[in-house]
């Protein structure tokens, strides 16, 4: 167990729901986790399982209506963000906690200069002159390795290439040296060479600033290469949490197991052409009409009667490896 002071973020029983016309939508259901200083926590899970909403909940940016955080606590460096008033929350956003959004391409204001957007973030939280803030902005751009940062600071987003825009986003997110950085699929839709550049950059900066990092991604390869700990979400719930080594070595939840199995083999290892991939049969249930028991049960090969009736508790299966499955112990053997 780590020292308490080491913990940057402590999320307890977070619950975010959407009130939609098709019903109550439990996008995040009772999710807890912690992030330590300098640590990278990865969140993986099926598309639509609530990863982005979890991230937005931390910043209290869930669109309301229809969304609402209905329970739990988000403690950042000792303060519960959910009880703060809006002004105090504003002082924390962008300052202690920053986010790189899922779609960096559309997340920059198209009619503001890159530099000004960073300057704005800086001046909102630090009492600096325009000149000083501008210097910091240029410095940040240099830090994310944008060539000719001074000139680029005066340009508009559309004048930058996609890769540069993402770096600008990162520069902006890190400008106030936040205690916590949330990166929501920062590299989807990029080819692997650029992806490698960007990830390396984030990790470097994280190391330098000691920032806690929450990394949301589909790419299990990226998870394996960057994270220390992983949580796996399914249908709004955390179904498994473990250190990255433990998870990849022996996943304890059948869904995680299925995910792992679906990963196409690394090209160099010489798979035969036309090899079928393993897939998880069935589809994700609608978050509105979740089954009473385990949400994954209808697709699970190991499902037993109990799975349909009772939701399994998140239990520790040794060494901080949490999993919510009645048959977690058997997962490794059966598959």
């Amino acid at each position: 167990m780590t020292e308490k002071s080491d913990i940057v973020l402590d999320v307890k029983n977070l619950k975010t729901v959407f009130f939609t016309n098709s019903g109550l939508f439990k996008a995040v259901d009772d999710v807890s986790f912690t992030v330590k200083r300098g640590e990278t926590l990865a969140i993986v899970g099926e598309s639509g399982c609530g990863k982005s909403v979890t991230a937005l909940s931390l910043l209290r940016l869930v669109p309301d209506p229809p969304g609402r955080i209905v329970g739990g606590s988000v403690t950042l460096e000792g303060t519960d963000l959910l009880t703060l008033d809006e002004a105090a929350m504003r002082a924390i956003r962008g300052n202690r906690i920053s986010m790189i959004f899922q779609e960096p391409m559309t997340s920059l204001n198209p009619v503001m200069r890159i530099g000004d957007q960073i300057v704005e973030a800086v001046r909102l939280h630090r009492n600096l002159s325009a000149k000083e803030a501008h210097d910091i902005a240029v410095e940040m751009l240099r830090l994310v390795r944008i060539p000719e940062p001074a000139r680029r600071a005066g340009e508009y987003p559309h004048q930058l290439s996609g890769g540069m825009r993402q770096r600008a986003m990162i520069a902006m997110a890190l400008a106030c040296r936040p205690a916590l950085l949330i990166a929501d699929e920062p590299t989807t839709a990029l080819d692997v060479t650029i992806q490698a550049q960007i990830l390396a950059l984030i990790l470097d900066l994280q190391k330098e600033l000691g920032t806690g990092l929450v990394l949301i991604t589909h790419d299990l390869g990226v998870v394996a290469q960057t994270a220390q700990r992983v949580i796996v979400m399914y249908a709004g719930k955390k179904v498994e949490e473990a250190s990255v080594e433990a998870l990849f070595a022996a996943p304890k939840h059948p869904y995680t197991r299925g995910l792992m199995a679906s990963i196409p083999a690394v090209p160099a290892s010489g798979v035969p052409a036309q090899a079928r991939l393993n897939e998880i049969p069935g589809t994700v249930p609608s978050l509105v009409r979740l089954p009473t028991g385990c949400a994954f049960a209808p697709r699970c090969k190991l499902a037993i009667k109990r799975c349909q009736e009772e939701y399994p508790p998140l239990a520790d299966w040794g060494g901080g490896h949490l999993a919510a499955c009645w048959r977690a112990a058997e997962v490794a053997e059966v598959a």
């Binding site: 390396a200 010489g270 991939l277």
Partner: protein, 331 residues
Amino acid sequence: MTEALLEVTDLTKHYPVRAGVLRRQVGTVHAVDGVSFALGTGETLGLVGESGCGKSTVARSVLRLVEPTSGQIRLRGEDITHLSKAELRPHRRSMQIVFQDPFASLNPRMTAGDIVGEPIAVHGLASGKALEARVAKLFEQVGLRPDQMRNFPHQFSGGQRQRICIARALALEPRLIVCDEPVSALDVSIQAQVINLLIDLQRQHGFSYLFIAHDLAVVAHISHRVAVMYLGRIVEIADKDELFRNPRHPYTQALLASVPIANPHAKKIAPLVDGDVPSPVNPPSGCAFHTRCRFAMERCKTERPALVDAGAGHQVACLLNEGTGRPNAIP
């Protein structure tokens, strides 16, 4: 190799950049610059490359959805490069495309059933009950429930939308399906479902695929041969095994090395190339990759390497080691 279904020779697509009173052309986007390849019946050719290197343009040119600037496209031996829209219409039955962005390529105001049934109706192949039955069968084929025919695109998940696109492409039972990044936005489990479906269909019907993707692992799974593009040109093309085992072009090597491996004990991420992709409006002189290449030599800045045979059906465009592209040592 089987008889060639599709032959693309020297395909070039330049988008003009216009300006001025008379909208004179002041520049050119060299989106595709002399691309040649062939695709046999029942074969899958993987096409990989950076974002913006011209993959989609190749795909759309093949179907004559964009008019190529020059070059030739032959379908089953017939030159379709210059056919008129009307003459082309019968050929549309034998080639179909699955677009890069599944959501955008579905008309938000049509039901899934209508979307899938439309090609059949347009070509007058069936109507009424017969049409409905055919669409229902297609839905089942791609793993959708026929009762979902009445739903609108926004009611489907990403993976399901992708399958609607595939069902639409299959509706005409084409010989050739161009798949433009059909899985890039999906998570691995859904991605696996789609890939498996494509493989199954190919086995059953002998379809040919031109398969475009970022993810090399996916390409490795589905393709027989793989072509690597960089800035409008094919820089390397080879049988899949050969390519992955023995990448010759420095860009291919960088790509392969950058793939994150889903194993926390494996080598950590370390970018092999730096810098941004150059603009296709002003492509660098000589070898377009020289601005980012670790092995760039003086020659590379002026001389443009041609795609040459490097043995074992392996073609590569690199000046390194007399055009074999093989570096002396991989660091």
